[in-house]
């Protein structure tokens, strides 16, 4: 059991958990993730390690409630345990002193981009962080991103906070002001795809973190395969970070939707009288 030691509700659909996992905390590097299973009957789902505290032996993860497992997870409280957690998984981000770098986090993607920004700043880069959300209510970790960057730009789609507009527009402004040596973009697939389309003509090296459906997370099943530069890669061991300009985003987005019906059914049975053993929904 991995014990939850801290819980924060960051917005209506986004939560933060700090979980006791000393071995993972000791090893995790920016860009890496873990896989959890809440209980015996649960699914294995991957989440990014958004922060670690080696003194307390804890890791922090931020997740958005999008389906059955994340909803069940949101109901857990401090003191509750998670049955299984395996990590760190995936390759760490390649951190070096590039010069002037931009770290873009969209939606819940603000969490995974934070450790990358922090490490890049520590490596001597000038870090410009751009975080975006649909509206002010959905924004979080403004303070942490401010501390991990030299400049922080905030965008909301509706203009309820920061500048109005998409993160891609903010990137165009930053690029107009000076050369960008490297850019990280982490967020929903459509946002990462749009970012790749924005930076390609500008010739900016761009890295995205892909979030395909995963199962084992050790390269054993191929569920997580993505196409990068025309080659099939397993995101859990070859990634999750890849060169944005090589990624086949359309394929990646289509693969994410394969179990839509089952996901709906899993949510439906959770809300019915049979207590989730599938009797009333067959």
């Amino acid at each position: 059991m991995y014990k939850i030691v801290h819980k924060e509700i960051l917005s209506e659909v986004i939560l933060l958990f700090e979980v006791q996992a000393p071995q993972i905390a000791a090893k995790a590097r920016p860009g890496q993730f873990f896989i959890l299973r809440l209980d015996e009957k649960g699914e294995r789902i991957p989440l990014t390690i958004a922060d670690t505290n080696r003194d307390t032996g804890t890791i922090t993860t931020i997740f958005q409630v999008v389906g059955r497992t994340t909803r069940e997870m949101s109901k857990l409280n401090v003191g509750d345990g998670i049955l299984d957690m395996v990590g760190p998984l995936g390759e760490a981000s390649e951190i070096e002193n590039f010069g002037r770098v931009v770290c873009v986090g969209g939606g819940v993607g603000v969490a995974p981009v934070y450790p990358v920004a922090k490490a890049l700043k520590e490596a001597g880069n000038e870090v410009i962080a751009i975080i975006g959300a649909r509206n002010k209510e959905l924004l979080f970790w403004e303070d942490k991103l401010a501390a991990a960057s030299n400049q922080l730009i905030i965008c909301t789609d509706d203009g309820s906070y920061g500048q109005k507009g998409f993160v891609t527009q903010a990137v165009e402004q930053v690029a107009a002001a000076g050369k960008i040596d490297c850019l990280w973009a982490i967020g929903p697939m459509p946002m990462m795809r749009a970012m790749a389309a924005t930076t390609k003509p500008l010739g900016i090296k761009t890295i995205v973190s892909l979030n395909p459906i995963m199962l084992d997370g050790t390269g054993m099943c191929g569920a997580c395969r993505v196409s990068v530069g025309g080659e099939t890669k397993f995101a859990c061991v070859d990634g999750p970070e890849f060169d944005a300009h090589q990624v086949d985003f359309d394929l990646a987005m289509r693969r994410l939707s394969y179990y839509k019906e089952e996901e709906k059914r899993a949510e439906a049975v959770a809300n019915c009288q049979c207590g989730g053993d599938g009797q009333c929904h067959g």
Binding site: Q23, I24, K27, R37, K41, G42, E43, R44, R68, T69, L83, D84, M85, V86, G87, P88, L89, L215, D216, T218, G219, M220, C221, G222, A223, R225, V226, S227, T232, V237, L251, R254, R255, S257, Y258, Y259, E262, E263, R265, A266, V269, G276, D277, G278, H281
Partner: protein
């Protein structure tokens, strides 16, 4: 002299029409009376050949002899001295090409059903009837201060761990998944090898004092070098052949194209056949095609039928004669309604706008004359392409070695496929204090060969550690 019975007593099976509707075990096992009768077929040869066919040297004539008198506890004690997973081996070993192949009765009739007898006594003991044996055998005997790490809890790792514990070492098994067992848990389906049985056998290994840490990925949480630095005097690597191969043909990343590993892991390890009670989904649509014709392919095709596929076909580019699966598995699959599409193989997959698989283009093959090696090479027939509608494809083309340990252990010699280079006789690798065995060394093979490798490595580790004092 009693009259020789030339045929094995039949294994009772769940009827095919019934069993394709469920995931419970197909082969039901002998009852006591049949087991004794089958044991009595053994001639107790002066120079028994059968043992030579067993990679872990189970004293076969001895345990069968005890069975004849109804001494099942004595029999299981004999087996367990050499084999820590008899309930598994009795079910999944290819006895026909091992011990039973060498049985003298096989010359004129059918060999003694050694596997079924092994299963009977192992089940007898697991059912609780032999508890005292369990307690006598599974006693913690840590007498040595040296610690050994075992990477991977498949049959190779578990065997090495059990044997080292019996020798008195402190053994810790590190396993990437959330349960121990390797392919026994994630690959081989419930209806051939019930998972509760695998776990019971693992419990017995734990009772020897073996510690098993799950959710531990070596190469991530610790490298092999870090394990050695942390005080493990030796490391055994049994990480298996877990990397699925694909075909590199267009459309292979469409939704609905699975590797056999993914399909079987969803169904077995995650119990997707009980979705939505268990939350992991799996799909087996109206038409399922399994590419390949080995044991893994048979398992996938049979799981697909049980998940409700309307039609499940084996697609293979050679003929029935060359199918590498065990004869019994092919027979069971055919009884259940698995279809064979032989001398054919896909060259492209097609999907709809959502990216879901709808069809595949196949090309027909012809077998040429056997070459010097005696194997007929399949030759594609130009212009023979045809389209076949299909909802799911499962690739069962074999597996390669998982690269995680190799990548993070620079001075460990690998061959060009990424398998660890190790001496087959003792598991010694190019790196001091590091031993390896099972599928990670041999490539995908069998449970018993992996166990044999674990056993030999345990002996070599013991020797190595004794010399080191």
């Amino acid at each position: 002299m009693p009259r020789l019975i030339m045929e094995k007593y039949a294994m009772p099976l769940q009827p095919a029409a019934e069993r394709v509707q469920n995931f419970t075990e197909v082969a039901l096992g002998y009852d006591q009376e049949t087991a004794v009768a089958e044991a009595k077929r053994c001639l107790e040869c002066k120079k028994p050949k059968c043992i030579e066919g067993c990679p872990v040297e189970v004293p076969i004539p001895q345990f069968i002899s005890l069975m004849k008198t109804g001494d099942f506890q004595g029999a299981i004690r004999q087996i367990k001295a050499k084999n820590s997973l008899p309930a598994v081996c009795g079910r999944v070993c290819p006895q026909e090409s091992q011990c039973e192949q060498l049985c003298i009765l096989g010359k004129k009739g059918e060999p003694v059903a050694i596997g079924r007898l092994e299963r009977f006594v192992a089940d007898y003991q697991l059912a609780g009837s032999g508890d005292d044996v369990q307690n006598q055998l599974a006693k913690k005997v840590i007498t040595k201060s040296k610690k050994v790490a075992v990477v991977g809890a498949g049959p190779a790792g578990l065997t090495a761990a059990g044997d080292l514990a019996k020798m008195g070492y402190q053994v810790t098994v590190l396993e990437a998944l959330h349960v121990a067992g390797g392919v026994l848990m994630y690959g081989i389906p419930e209806f051939r090898l019930p998972k509760a049985i695998v776990q019971q056998e693992i419990e017995a290994i734990k009772k020897l004092g073996v510690a098993i840490k799950t959710n531990y990925v070596v190469g991530q949480l610790a490298t092999v070098d870090e394990l050695l630095a942390a005080g493990y005097a030796a490391v055994f690597i049994g990480t298996g052949a877990g990397l699925p191969y694909f075909m590199n043909v267009p459309g292979e990343n469409l939704n609905g194209v699975y590797s056999a590993n993914e399909f079987l892991t969803r169904a077995n390890l995650m119990k997707a056949y009980r979705f939505p009670e268990y939350l992991t989904p799996v799909k087996a649509g109206q038409r399922v095609a399994v590419i390949g014709a080995g044991n893994v392919a048979m398992d996938a095709a049979r799981v697909a039928l049980r998940l409700g596929a309307g039609e499940s076909s084996i697609v293979y580019r050679r003929s029935e004669k060359e199918m590498p699966a065990r004869h019994e598995e092919i027979e069971h699959a055919l009884e259940e309604g698995v279809k064979l599409a032989l001398l054919t193989s896909p060259v492209e997959f097609h999907g709809d706008q959502k990216g879901n698989l709808t069809a595949m283009t196949c090309i027909r093959y012809e077998l040429c004359e056997p070459d010097q090696s005696g194997r007929c090479r399949p030759v594609a027939l130009k212009g023979s392409e045809y389209k076949m509608p299909v909802d799911n494809v499962i690739m069962a083309l074999g597996q390669g070695p998982n690269p995680l340990v190799g990548r993070t252990t620079p001075d460990l010699e690998l061959n060009r496929w990424g398998n660890i280079v190790a001496n087959e006789a003792n598991g010694i690798t190019s790196k001091a204090a590091v031993f390896a065995g099972g599928d990670i060394v041999s490539g995908a093979a069998t449970v018993i060969l992996a166990m044999g490798a674990g056993k030999k490595a345990a002996q070599a580790i013991d020797q190595y550690l004794k010399q080191k004092i």
